[in-house]
Amino acid sequence: MKVLLDQTKCVSSGQCVLAAPAVFDQRDEDGIAVLLVANPDAELHEEVREAARICPALAIAVQEP
């Protein structure tokens, strides 16, 4: 799995961090999401899919082989 994060779409909601805290964090100054792991391990995949689904800004894309 490859995770793509579009920071220009991010609205700093932090929903991705709630869903997948091992994969996403937020910048201190403006809350914009940052990707911690671009190729997460299999046990994190469902959390990452959930993060992509709930992101209110549609800023997360997941590429699966």
Binding site: V11, S12, S13, G14, Q15, V17, L18, Q26, D28, D30, G31, R53, I54, P56, A57, L58
Partner: protein, 398 residues
């Protein structure tokens, strides 16, 4: 629902799309038809009053999914076609083109329509904002107008007023309540929003009603206020709230109040669920609620679809919503009503960054941040736990 079943989703926006995706993800392999009154595939609405209106985004960027994802859902998209009638007993709906669709399961996600003033919407230069076409027309109008009046200082009105000002227009924001967004955020934050707008050059006329629009040869020329003043304007945006799109369900047998009335599972009748702006559901332990926020469309679209497939899980979200105005981002969890207790727990409003909590009956009901996005997530826990007010306040600068 089995392989031979058909589910019809009425409403092709965020809640309807999420319902379709959820049905497929949960293994529903039957037929799905999606009915949408707009001729477009699902698109996102929050950017309409922000990036699209400012012109910082190409309109195409609001698409909720790419064509490949839409195709992968294997649904029949009946767009530019409104549902006009429903017979819940016979399990069928009628579309504006005369087509009749039978269903085994029905998802109602028809959203809302902007409320209008009793008079004046026939005038050139008078706008409402709900659809992408509305946003593009409003942007075109804003670029041509020098002076703008925004009637209504809720989410939409306050955001649009900020954008109009950022585009260099002369802007007046009018609302009968004492401050902008006071219904959503209470008096203290309302006052700060008023100052934010005033500081950026918006004339804020709160505690003031509009008595009439004035016109010249069919073009709006301004508004008359109930204090006797006249404010000249070449463009007027009416942003005075919305009403649920339930007209097509009248006489269907469903219970319609302020929206489609559902139980805690978002069920309106056997085999019928509702989601998003149009759904008025029984929030466990709270009562009837209808929420017009973007996250709720996703969360309720998911919950309603699962329950249509028989999941049986009550829908009890902690609502998240946000607004962007000028250089300020306000984020909220829970219901920050105007009657709640309010306390700043981090930062300082005077410095333009703070976090606050709201409480009712000794319990934390909401958290709000003003340019402190990470703290919103931290304080969310207090809302989820309905933490005691004493405990919440002890978290000060924690």
């Amino acid at each position: 629902m089995n392989d031979g079943s058909r589910i019809v989703v009425v409403g092709a926006s965020a809640a309807g799309l999420t319902a379709v995706e959820t049905l497929r993800r949960e293994g529903f392999t039957g037929r799905i038809a999606v009915v949408g009154d707009e001729p477009r595939l699902p698109y996102d609405r929050p950017p309409l009053s922000k990036q699209v209106l400012r012109g910082t985004w190409e309109p195409g960027r609001v698409a909720l999914r790419g064509d490949d994802v839409i195709a992968g859902l294997d649904a029949e998209w009946l767009l530019g076609n409104a549902a006009i009638d429903a017979d819940i007993g016979a399990r069928r709906i009628t579309l504006s083109d005369g087509r009749v669709l039978g269903y085994d399961g029905l998802v109602i996600a028809t959203g809302v329509t902007p409320r209008r003033l009793p008079h004046g919407h026939e005038l050139a230069g008078v706008h409402t904002l709900r659809t992408l076409d509305d946003a593009l027309a409003l942007r075109k109008g804003l670029l041509a107008a020098k002076s703008v009046v925004v009637i209504g200082a809720g989410f939409l009105g306050a955001e649009a007023a900020a954008v109009a000002r950022q585009l260099g227009r002369d802007v007046t924001l009018v609302d009968p309540l004492p401050a902008p967004m006071v219904r959503q955020f209470g008096a203290q934050v309302g006052e700060l929003v008023a100052r934010l707008h005033t500081g950026n050059g918006v004339r804020v006329r709160c505690a003031t009603g509009v008595t009439a629009l004035t016109s010249d040869a069919g073009q709006v020329s301004g508004v008359n206020l109930d204090d006797g003043a006249h404010v000249a304007a070449e463009l007027v945006l009416v942003a005075i709230g919305s009403t649920p799109n339930v007209g097509w369900l009248e006489g269907s047998g469903l219970s319609l109040g302020n929206g489609v009335e559902c139980d805690a599972l978002c069920q309106a009748a056997p085999g019928v669920v509702a989601a998003g702006d149009v759904a008025s559901w029984l929030y466990p332990g709270v009562g009837r609620l209808r929420v017009e926020h973007r996250m709720n469309a996703t969360e309720q679209g998911t919950a309603a679809a699962r329950n249509l497939l028989g999941n049986g899980i009550p829908f009890a979200p902690v609502s998240y919503y946000w607004t962007d105005q000028f250089d300020v981002k306000i984020q909220t969890y829970g219901v920050a009503g105007q009657d709640a207790d309010f306390r700043v727990v981090a930062g300082d409003p005077a410095n333009g960054r703070f976090a606050a909590v709201y409480g009712m009956d000794g319990r934390t009901t909401a958290a709000l941040t003003w340019n402190m996005p990470k703290e919103a997530r931290t304080l969310r826990r207090l809302v989820v736990e309905r933490a005691s007010w004493r405990h919440a306040l002890s978290q000060v600068s924690a």
